[in-house]
């Protein structure tokens, strides 16, 4: 229980919501009332049914159960968030390590590259990339990651600059330890920890950006369920059929809010490192 006490009430609630969604994602085929419709099977005779005992959250324009769609959509949103953060970390961390450790022209060259990416508004760059690559889940993950990794590179570099001057690193260098070994054994562990915390915090914004791309028609291919796309599909019917957009919209809202609250709780403990990249 000590973890929960450290997170406080808000953080604990956030964690609970996130774990619930994670459970939905993993056990979607067992939990969804209509797994086939969750994966895209049409059911046109029940088109746009309001919420009822049969369809708890109503149905969409092809008569598919929105509860099942939202549950299956959890998989896309969670995995998109995870992939974006992971890819960004895998690219940004090594770049930052190299730039910070070697300094000089390596640093200059790598940091100017990150500057190029940071010069564009993040969402705009993601939209441009996604439009150029064409719709598809993988493409949208790539598109968002392109805007995301420079932040990690910047952060890793700042950490390395501090660690590089530490006595234990200088000692290792004087003892003739090779550069790769110093980087991996002595600097990476220290530099990675704040980055991992930041990555956990970025999960929410990452899935929001991915949802925004889907909303704009640049995300998953139909008939895959995706929250952003579902909000878009229901948007035009909103005045008369509020439930179509509401169900996925509330899901996005809840999960992003949960990450935000959990992030605040964690950040409070770590001390604010930086603003998020959005």
């Amino acid at each position: 229980m000590s973890v929960l006490r450290r997170l406080g009430l808000g953080g604990s609630l956030g964690l609970a919501v996130i774990l619930t969604f994670a459970l939905l994602a993993v056990a979607a085929p067992l939990l969804a009332p209509y797994p086939g419709q969750g994966m895209g099977d049409p059911n046109v005779t029940a088109k746009l049914t309001p919420p009822s005992a049969e369809f708890w959250l109503g149905t969409d324009h092809l008569g598919r159960d929105l509860l099942s769609r939202v549950i299956y959509g959890t998989r896309v949103s969670m995995s998109a968030g995870l992939m974006i953060v992971a890819v960004s970390l895998l690219v940004g961390l090594p770049v930052g390590l190299l730039a910070g450790y070697f300094g000089g022209w390596v640093d200059e060259a790598l940091m100017r590259v990150t500057d190029v990416f940071l010069a564009f508004p993040a969402l705009l760059l993601a939209v441009l990339m996604a439009a150029a690559l064409g719709p598809g889940l993988l493409n949208s993950i790539v598109a968002v990651s392109v805007t995301w990794w420079p932040w990690y590179a910047r952060m890793a570099r700042a950490e390395v600059l501090v660690l590089r001057g530490q006595p234990y690193v200088e000692a290792a260098r004087l003892m003739g330890v090779s550069h790769p070994r110093i980087l991996i054994r002595h600097i990476l562990p220290g530099a990675a920890r704040p980055l991992l915390v930041q990555a956990a915090l970025d999960f929410g914004p990452a899935l929001l950006t991915a949802s925004a791309l889907s909303f704009l028609g640049l995300g998953v291919l139909p008939p895959t369920a995706d929250w952003g796309k579902m909000v878009d599909e229901g948007r035009k019917f909103f005045p008369d059929r509020w439930w179509v957009s509401t169900a996925p919209g509330v899901a996005i809202f809840l999960l992003a809010l949960a990450f935000s609250v959990l992030g605040d709780a964690l950040r409070g403990r770590e001390g604010g490192k930086r603003d998020d990249p959005s």
Binding site: D41, P135, L221, P222, R241, S260
Partner: protein, 523 residues
């Protein structure tokens, strides 16, 4: 604390909420002035009558006029071509010479008279600029004005010039004073037509205001409108709230699913008519396995025609009888189009050795076109039962088109799009979509059939002189395409317009798409 994530997630929900802006409650309504307001869901990219080739026709059709006007056929009556600026016309026996007699007493907005020279000048300007739909005049080799009321066209091949002159694009007649004006002049909001309204104000992307032309030859109906306001509102939710709230008198483009509620509203009339717009998917006939007609026939048998009409258009669309929609001459009400029959499809696939073969096909369509997406999703579900995986690939139109034009060997399996004619002729559909081409432009299934080519080319030359025979030949040609299953003919789109119930005299004319002839109306 940083709340940006919270706000951003809330914004995604908020985007779905309709908000009634007061940008449209304009200070236009002076006392007593009768205003007809259109909530128009798209902008007007080009107001030059020579090159306009988009929704700008909605504005131009009230400011300019053409020699003739096309009135589509209905179930009771055949289609006709009515006089407009031309009072009468005749063609020579070989169909190569067309003589139009102009209406007397017609004035342009600048006060000058309509003359044969003005007609000749307008059409020559259009042909010279050669933009937009200027190709409709391709057969015209000369225009003569033997006297001020007579225009004579000479053609290189027989063409139905009365129908061509009724086109909603590239056929507008402009004042001689405007002949030397450039595209920018017209797009600055200047008009030079003979129509019932003058172009008063144009704010690109915002609105167009027209005012009644006192000298209009046709006069004004009792209770007719003094002012026409096109309010450009590119969000269907806002268009709907405007027409429901009485800020607009006419709109279109609302989701089919919302129309039921509008139909129940006594203040509104929802008009559902056939359109000339048809949705289909062209099969890649140049690549295995869709190079085999029986495989294509099987796919067409698996298409859920009725479900797509129900789910995609709330039952308002109609079965496509081939590619030529109802209301156009050459439409074939008895076309032998397939019905959904999964067992027959399965049998055909088995015959071709493709039973449960795990076949994978790619269908491309336009991003964010809900109807195309719905058609694809429902078809995919049916094909899955036959062991075929259909991948739905939404693409930006330009990208979709480029991919299809590049190389049939690496292109899509099924290309989904809409077609509607520039001027009303079955040749437009059959030539563009199925006539063999060296390098494909719109024949994106790469269909090539010399017998078909010869038949429609001959029918086209006959359509100026012997329309009945031409029609029979076009129908025969279309049946070839159906027998070969060159495409799956998904549905004919309904033409749906929503008007306030107190507007009288309104008639849809599918030949002109989303155009309102405001001078026919009164309140």
């Amino acid at each position: 604390m940083n709340r940006r994530e919270v706000l951003r997630s809330a914004a995604l929900v908020a985007l779905a909420t309709p908000f009634a802006g007061n940008r449209w409650t304009m200070a236009l309504a002076q006392d007593g002035a009768r205003i007809f307001t259109l909530a128009y869901p798209t902008g007007f990219p080009d107001l030059d009558p020579a090159t306009s080739f988009s929704n700008d026709g909605a504005v131009l059709a009230n400011v300019y006029e053409s020699l003739t006007r096309y009135i589509p056929g209905t179930d009771g009556a055949p289609a006709t071509v009515n006089p407009l600026l031309a009072e009468s016309w005749e063609t020579s026996a070989d169909g190569l010479t067309w003589t139009f007699r102009l209406r007397a007493g017609v004035k342009f907005h600048d006060g000058s008279d309509l003359t044969a020279e003005a007609v000749k000048g307008s059409i020559e300007r259009t042909i010279t600029i050669a933009g937009g739909a200027a190709f409709i005049w391709y057969a015209v080799t000369g225009i003569a004005a033997p006297d001020p009321q007579t225009v004579v066209f000479t053609l290189s091949s027989p063409q139905p010039l009365d129908v061509i002159a009724a086109s909603g694009f590239a056929a507008w007649i402009i004042s001689p004073a405007a002949l030397d004006k450039d595209n920018a002049w017209f797009n600055a909001g200047n008009g030079a037509g003979t129509g019932p309204f003058t172009l008063d104000r144009y704010e690109p992307g915002q609105r167009v205001i027209l005012n009644r032309f006192a000298g209009y030859w046709g006069g004004a109906p009792e209770g007719g409108f003094d002012t026409v306001a096109f309010e450009i509102v590119e969000d269907a939710v806002l268009d709907q709230s405007m027409i429901e709230g009485g800020q607009a008198d006419w709109t279109y483009g609302l989701p089919y699913e919302n129309l039921e509620a509008l139909q129940a509203n006594p203040d509104l009339s929802v008009l559902v008519n056939p359109s000339f717009e048809t949705l289909f998917g062209m099969y890649n006939t140049k690549r295995a396995p869709l190079d085999r007609p029986k495989v294509r026939q099987a796919l067409s048998l698996a298409f859920p025609y009725d479900d797509v009409i129900m789910a995609g258009t709330s039952g308002m669309g109609s079965r496509a009888m081939g590619v030529i929609p109802n209301g156009i001459w050459g439409h074939d009400p008895a076309a032998p189009v397939p019905n959904t029959d999964l067992d027959a499809a399965r049998a055909l696939l088995a015959e071709e050795g493709l039973a449960d073969s795990g076949l994978e096909l790619v269908m491309t369509y336009a991003t964010s076109d809900q109807l195309e997406s719905t058609a694809g999703e429902l078809w995919k579900a049916n094909l899955a039962q036959l062991g075929i995986t259909l991948t739905l690939q939404p693409m930006a139109w330009e990208a979709q088109w480029q991919l299809a034009k590049a190389d049939p060997a690496t292109a899509q399996d099924i290309f989904v799009m809409y077609w509607w004619p520039t001027y009303v002729t079955p040749y437009d559909y059959l030539l563009n979509l199925f006539h063999s081409e060296e390098s494909p432009v719109y024949n994106l299934g790469y269909y090539a059939n010399p017998a078909f080519d010869a038949l429609i080319d001959e029918a086209a030359t006959l359509s100026g002189t012997d329309r009945a025979r031409a029609e029979a030949m076009f129908i025969e040609a279309q049946r070839m395409v159906i027998a070969d299953a060159a495409a799956v003919f998904m549905l004919d789109k309904p033409n749906i317009h929503i008007i306030r119930s107190d507007i009288k005299g309104y008639k849809d004319n599918a030949a002109y798409g989303h155009v309102v002839f405001v001078n026919d109306l009164n309140r």
